[in-house]
Amino acid sequence: MKQNELHQPSMAARTKRNTLRLMTWTILWVISVALLSLGPQLIWNFDMVMTTVAIICNLALGYKLILVNKDYLSGLDELQRWIQLNAMGISLGVGLVVGIFYEVLEDIKVITFEPQISHLIIIMALVYIVSIFFGNRKYS
């Protein structure tokens, strides 16, 4: 094996860099969501200009987050992409099934409170994390 082949930027280094980018943009997006949710009431007293700026920031950061996430997935190797695909497929399936089920429960008065989208997102995130964990364990 040629030495220069051994000293190319490693897969691990590339994944680490992309993960850090993804983490940074995720944090920025979460901050923009918090600002958009709480800012109008707690900081700028429903000023429309400030609210519009917050909306634009949130959408722009959301768009960037999608692009960075796409880059992250593109930077993975085929096994890692396979693990991600399985995890996302399971999360999406669980999200759909549990989401509809949760909504129906309220319609038929089995639960008395209104279903919240945040509950569904938490469930999908947990399922995704567990799926990634077991996917990595399966191929380790």
Partner: protein, 63 residues
Amino acid sequence: MKNRLKVLRAERDWTQADLAAALDVSRQTVNAIEKGKFDPSLPLAFKVGRLFELAIEEIFEYE
């Protein structure tokens, strides 16, 4: 699929990390292929063949 990746790697005294770097994949992927847990794509199989200067069928065997 069975494969001779581990043997070929050992003959050259390479670690899994060396092979992973040469193939631009993670060490986890090399390990999974060696253990037969994961079948590589055709482009990756060609890359492996080129690296070891062998035909794909000399490395991988369909069961």
